[in-house]
Symmetry: C2
Subunit: 330 residues, 2 copies
């Protein structure tokens, strides 16, 4: 299995991407193709290039984070994103991981790989690691700002496949994010989506509200990409605020040796903060396209990149794309 990794995308590229890729090659025993400028990557990857598992694929151009996606794809055919997506198309890679311009990744994927037959829109499935017990899947995390009710039903179908395979839940509970529990609550989109979801054979448990997300009353949170993106980023922002907790743990443990830290960890805070940190978890999967495309957080450092590559490996191994292709959509 070869996983192509965008070496030039993201705020900490290329150093942290290369570091993460080297770690992943060692830990997961996968072959990694670092896509980017050979001259730079040769220096960064150095002696690791002599070992099996790590290769370089030349891409002379870079799409920056702020660039307009469609123009960038058109004007930079030799960018790491376009080259990486084309590696899936021509069969030289099983998956592509990028922390770069997310609009460009989605655009290049739709243009060069296309959607799975029967699907109206692809969606971004993102795992929220709030509770220590198990993550929740949020879909759509940002691929579609404006949605129709029928899109949300398909997101629920895609999410169900993903949660079954990646979270190992046999009948994942699907909740529709809304501003009230009752069926009659919500905006026009959720009211209509609720009616459609009731008619499916999914394990639809009804609406859920914002406060229910951390309580994990469902396995899958279905929402439009606008709301999903805002929810994830709000949680992330709060995570940043709480990152200080680590410093507290360190302060206490240095002041009182191991005791203070032990107390913090006893009540699960250490792991909670760790789990809300995109520096650790960074991989969202673009579901419903003809390829395995993983989007890592733009601020991913080596550990997040390593984890995103691990997720890519899992997605390939479980054959999620094939299962998605075999599903019949509402």
């Amino acid at each position: 299995m070869i996983i192509a990794v965008d070496a030039t995308g993201g705020e900490y590229a290329p150093h942290e991407i290369v570091k993460g890729a080297i770690k992943a090659a060692q830990e997961y025993k996968v072959d990694i193709a670092l896509v980017g400028k050979k001259s730079i990557l040769h220096v960064l990857a150095g002696r690791h290039l002599n070992k099996p598992g790590l290769n370089i694929v030349e891409a002379s151009q870079t799409i920056e984070l702020g660039e307009s996606p469609l123009n960038a794809i058109r004007n930079k055919p030799d960018s790491s994103i376009v080259v990486g997506i084309n590696m899936i198309k021509n069969g030289t890679a099983s998956a592509f991981v990028s922390a770069g311009n997310s609009g460009a990744v989605v655009g290049a994927t739709l243009l060069n790989l296309g959607k799975v037959k029967g699907l109206q829109r692809p969606a971004l499935g993102s795992l929220l690691h709030i509770n220590a017990a198990a993550p929740i899947l949020l879909i759509d995390a940002g691929a579609n700002a404006d949605c129709r009710p029928s899109f949300l039903v398909q997101f629920a179908q895609l999410g169900t496949i993903y949660a079954k395979e990646i979270l190992g839940i046999s009948s994942p509970r699907v909740g529709l994010l809304s501003n009230g529990e009752e069926e009659t609550k919500g905006n026009r989109l959720t009211q209509e989506s609720h009616k459609l979801l009731r008619k499916t054979n999914l394990n639809f448990v009804g609406n859920l509200e914002g406060q229910d997300i951390p309580k994990r009353t469902v396995d899958i949170v279905v929402t439009d990409g606008f709301t999903g993106n805002i929810v994830i980023k709000t949680l992330e922002g709060l995570g940043d605020t709480f990152i200080n907790l680590r410093q507290v743990g360190q302060l206490i443990s240095s002041a009182y040796h191991l005791h203070g830290r032990a107390l913090l960890y006893d009540v699960g805070l250490g792991s909670l903060v760790k789990r809300m940190d995109y520096r650790e978890y960074g991989g969202s999967c673009l579901l419903g396209v003809n390829g395995n495309v993983i989007m890592a957080h733009g601020r991913s450092q080596s550990r997040a990149i390593k984890n995103a590559i691990g997720l890519a490996k899992q997605i390939v191994e479980r054959g999620i794309l094939q299962i998605i292709r075999e599903e019949s959509y509402e």
Copy 2:
């Protein structure tokens, strides 16, 4: 100044409401009219009724939290919500505070007091106490699930008045909540709203994303009531998760006397958790209606009720309703 308080609304009614009202009467030197069943309230308020500042106004009916708002208003004309709103209408109260059925409060307000001339929709302005330095105003926190761009412009105007008077900011920064910083990002609603907001003379600083809310890059977060409600409840749910922090503080302080607690408080965590707790802060103001109506959180206990009454007093004293009436709307 008489502030009417719904004694039968909310999960902890009537006990906690009465306790909060008694505290508020003492602390803020306002006259409070407890609206509810006299027979019950007489027993609960007891000896405090002999002191100045606390009175009872009979309302024989109660609208439950789960009831359909419009039916409830129609069928229960002697409910605490309808009686309380009518006290504003006939001039016997300057403001009304309720932790009860929020749909019924909005409905009874629109039906009996109406909107301020020139406004398309009223909006719920909610103060987020995430940062210790100063709260942020989020508007609309849930009054309108489906919005037009012109509604959001008026919410920004209402929010600007409120932030000036209540937060004491001379030129509050207005941000539009979206899924990207750039003007071109967002759904159709925010893209169009962005263009309209640019044309106003408000201090509009552009889009903000979810992660910017805790960072307090703006003073006012403008959004539709669907998204606003979900953001607030997500923060609240996470607050619940972090309430454990208090227990950590207590554990550490009891184990190491005052030292551990001091460390926690030094980095601002104690106050951060306190500020995210709706048990402390519970008052959102329904802006743009002909009356001062404060909606407290349904799970408000005495301290939150006391604080909501304090907010009501402040709103009356600053004459916010008159300022809103004198504004000319886009």
